[in-house]
Symmetry: C2
Subunit: 469 residues, 2 copies
Amino acid sequence: AFSEMVPVLNLVGVPSTVQQISKPLLHHTLGDGRFDAYNLAAQQFTYSQAFLRNKEHAPDEIDRVLTDCITKARPVYLALPTDLVSAKISSRRLRIPLNRNPPAEDPRLQSSVLDLVVKHFQEAEGDAVVLVDACAIRYDVKDELNKFIKKTGFPVFSTPMGKTAIDENLERYGGVYFGSISRPEIKEKVESAKLVLSVGPLKTDLNTANFSYNIPVERTIELHFDHTKIQYAVFPGVGMKNFIPKLTERLKSFHAAASMLSVPKFFNFVPHEKTEIITHDFFWPRVGEFFRPKDIIVTETSSPNFAIPDIPLPEGSILVSQLLWGSIGWSVGSLLGASLAARKKGLGRCILFIGDGSIQLSVQELSTMLRVGVTPIIFLLNNSGYTVERYIRGMTRKYNHIFSWKWTSLLTVLGDSQGKELSKSYTVQTKDELASLLDDPAFARADKVQLVEVIMDKLDAPKSLRLMT
Amino acid sequence: AFSEMVPVLNLVGVPSTVQQISKPLLHHTLGDGRFDAYNLAAQQFTYSQAFLRNKEHAPDEIDRVLTDCITKARPVYLALPTDLVSAKISSRRLRIPLNRNPPAEDPRLQSSVLDLVVKHFQEAEGDAVVLVDACAIRYDVKDELNKFIKKTGFPVFSTPMGKTAIDENLERYGGVYFGSISRPEIKEKVESAKLVLSVGPLKTDLNTANFSYNIPVERTIELHFDHTKIQYAVFPGVGMKNFIPKLTERLKSFHAAASMLSVPKFFNFVPHEKTEIITHDFFWPRVGEFFRPKDIIVTETSSPNFAIPDIPLPEGSILVSQLLWGSIGWSVGSLLGASLAARKKGLGRCILFIGDGSIQLSVQELSTMLRVGVTPIIFLLNNSGYTVERYIRGMTRKYNHIFSWKWTSLLTVLGDSQGKELSKSYTVQTKDELASLLDDPAFARADKVQLVEVIMDKLDAPKSLRLMT
């Protein structure tokens, strides 16, 4: 969560305030009296920590870490001793809304940086593109960005981690820039622009196809959550949340010129292949046709998060991916969380893509989905093992092999038995079977947990993954 | 592992030595260049750490943490950069066996403490008992202890965490001392002795029935792995591994007197109950009759590890329990490890007792058992939820309820399909069904993975647990 900038509150029940001092030999302790060990370890992976010691300071401490959590988009740690759980405290602070905005900035600094940025746009004669990356999503500037694009008319592209920050069917949207493995027309447009306005960049190895950007620093302006960078110069204290609206006002005069810049069409293309086998080259664009506006699409690390960048997603859809941290198994719990949020906020269907290796790490959360009554769709890509690892090392080695599970009976075992009909499971082996299922309105309605086992070849992988490993 | 004193080598693959310095934005990092964060966090939970930086120092560093791991019985952390994985190093150190023994001790200190201890035995006129606890197992003094008992003849008892350090069918063995909830005859013998020689004590809340020992410090001598304590006096540098053999020699003259001390018989008793329902009061002694010499018995936290102390275990059996740390879910992986070790070392059957709540945390390891071909028996106590938590808090609350799984189909889904016959699953609902299964030689042979779902009442619990919560 720290790495991926996810605001998570880690609320930890701990022994009572008296025991924090007397340190008895309790279970769930290390047995040597170090009651602060977890707090010390958590410091490495949380932005801030609060250890409640008395009820007087509790409200301030709680608000402090909650504010950090939201404004810094990082996990925070809150330790709650057992005796304070039911302590009564004043409700006074509940009347003051938490501040979600970044702190006020120096207006003279801001306007000076604004002048500089505008000057660069003038020198580039408006030949600029916008490149949207992860931090635009993490630090919540999607609205500001969409207004910027609408009012200025500049072509806009996204990185894999910035995908869905900008609606992908927007007229001025040109697709995903993925360094050396981008579509050629996208690569050409982004790398030949006189100026690239990079919003919330996070140039990780996997997000840049192994650091393969070809955009000189001299042509780059970067907007970050707490600073701005013009070419090589860093301006701390100028954050994008406040900056983008002001920049929009100053650059809207470029609209006529910017609108003349051509934008590649980011189209979806389902190839015609001779084989009936479901290949990655076929699967992803075909599934692309199945997506609907407002769908939440979760792509597990490995084939799914390498394949999805190239598939245009509909208006209002949300892509949940994890390219920086890049662990496996995270997406099942993430799907559960997304499904609960979608139900509460009236968003669309929740759809997970995951391999047979990754799902084994956190499979029990499917049971929780049945229990709480959410109804996601899970595409389980069964390619008999850790295919991405096979490409990295040990193509035929045993440690990349996965013991085969009976996937279509899984949801029954995990609690959907005795005629409850909370779920439905399918296996698709051919392109026709996949197409029939995707075109079935009952399936597309997503009114129960649905698991689709997609049989794929052991060594097939998305093109981007084959190119990168 | 730190808490429970388990020697685990945490071998961590990390970016190359060059990347440790240049700190690129790699996946599996925190994204802010802190490549040492995991090492810092691990310091809280490991005894020592080594971060290999070059191949010259690697052999010394590896041996240093391995020696700590074994002699201190704690986990250690070893970070191995990718470029050193295939580096060639000298094999010289492989010719020097690692030192598994504690360091040499000051002989004058040792003999002075020895004199003092013997004096206390003389003053007690040999009216002493031995109480064996966790650290006798963790710091590997089982052989020394058994010789001590044989040569001196003192009555010996164990704590719940010390169980199976001493063979429980030994003539001088009197059973498990569990503070206030001990069997009355055991409580009386231990608490009325003029002297208690406590070997490897670890007086945690759960191991002492909430700190309910009634043994005055004035009557206690404690032997620890790195010190000895006589009444209130601590003698650092006198560790039990070297001390017990010397003490055996000095105290063997008490054999005649010690042999006169009566020892309660630690018997197993299966009650006759009117109900056909399988109660905890019935289940544990009945299963006690099923155990065989050399069995490895793993008891998950909650009902199993509270029930097992009262059940006599056969010669050479090993109990694996976790009363200090007391997490749930650990026992499935532990069973896998125990099964692999048992196969390699020619030990007996591996038998797990676990609840329907705990097993959901780590259920996928059952699939690994099928894959690697070990053949444990798993008694799954299905009481529809977290019964121990119900006793602690929220007797009827929803958060203690578990979504019911179709347990007898679980192993099929986890890989035992298509006629492989790697496993067999059973449900027992009545005492008769349980008895028939336990008496079936094919079941007892344990030649495949066997899962037994034992249906129990939602609010039934072992007596010790009911008394403690």
